[in-house]
Amino acid sequence: MKKIFLLFITFLKIGAFTFGGGFAMIPLIEREIVEKRKWVSQDSMINIISISQSFPGAVAINSSIIIGQRIGGYPGAVAATLGVTLPSLIIIIAVAKIFSYIWEIEAIKAAFRGINSAVIALLISVSIRIGKASLKDKITPFITIVALILLFWIKIHPIYIVLFGIASGIAYYFFKIKKSGKN
């Protein structure tokens, strides 16, 4: 029971102090879970992060579930998930409550126009980083281009774009099998 509570508190801290989305949480998760609590080793941490990226959903949530389960079983997974989510939930509800009032202030509107411009720059830098990490061969940039055409031109729902990626991966797998069969 003490362990479950400790999991909750640790992930509460992680949820409360990481800004900028899931990937920004990873260094803090590492510091708390690997260095301070010594719940998992550095090697399994790298493992956990790559597994959590192959599941749908937020990376931070997924890695919290995996770590929670390893340390405290199902109750541990639930405790870690609650801990990592609760701070966002409380803060966002507070922000949403006051947002409609402060939105009337002209200075706030101006600040938000500047912030939105900054967010574009942030998103561009994220897409450069993720693009560099994901597009390493000759076929993957082609998949990105087809997905962009589907998104902007054909205007299909993003769910089908994700399914297109999964289908490309499966097709690639069978293509590789066939090729290695011939050799």
Binding site: N47, P56, G57, S88, N116, A118, L123, I143, A147
Partner: protein, 192 residues
């Protein structure tokens, strides 16, 4: 039944989004279009960048609260997390075992370039709603006639902050702060 609708919408978002929060943005925009204007959604993206926690959770809470109060916020957030919780707890052991299986590796190989496209979609969404005078949905991105309404000052802020991020490795939170301060200053010198 608004709560059920919120739950189903965010469950769907949680189930079909890969590559973390940024890749989820185009999907969230289309799925929540009935409850939020595009401009409001762009503001929520910005708020998510300024508050702790994953962007998917932040958006779910914000939309849920707007639509159905505190209970709505809790329900939407539960909906977005639940697919991860169910999937991971049921198949994580298997996945750990077959992680190196070539089929799984190929699927991840296929999803990653698609996530890049979805993040570019997110860039386009925020850009067309900030750098233009008229807000616009992701489905109307290719309508080039809106380009005549470009806002040079907003573009200049984006370019400046992008340079700071890429060259000086500015921390994302500081980038947001620089944007906010520039916005207020430009307002008071009458340029914005």
């Amino acid at each position: 039944m608004i709560y059920l609708q919120l739950f189903i919408t965010f469950f769907k978002i949680g189930l079909f989004s890969f590559g973390g929060g940024y890749g989820m943005i185009p999907m969230i925009e289309i799925e929540t279009g009935q409850w939020l204007t595009t401009q409001e959604f762009v503001n929520i993206i910005s708020i998510s960048e300024m508050t702790p926690g994953p962007i998917a959770v932040n958006t779910a809470t914000f939309v849920g609260y707007r639509v159905g109060g505190i209970l709505g916020g809790v329900i939407a957030t539960t909906g977005v997390i639940l697919p991860s919780l169910i999937l991971i707890l049921s198949v994580c052991g298997l996945l750990n075992k077959y992680r190196k299986h070539p089929l799984l590796e190929s699927i991840v190989w296929g999803i990653r370039p698609v996530v890049v496209a979805l993040i570019i979609g997110a860039v386009a969404l925020v850009a067309r709603n900030t750098l233009l005078k008229e807000p616009i949905s992701i489905n109307d991105m290719l309508d080039l006639s809106s380009l005549q309404h470009l806002e040079p000052i907003s573009i200049a802020i984006t370019v400046l902050i992008l340079v700071l991020l890429l060259v000086l490795k500015l921390h994302p939170i500081l980038a947001i702060l620089v944007g906010a301060v520039l916005g207020v200053i430009l307002k008071y010198v009458g340029l914005f």
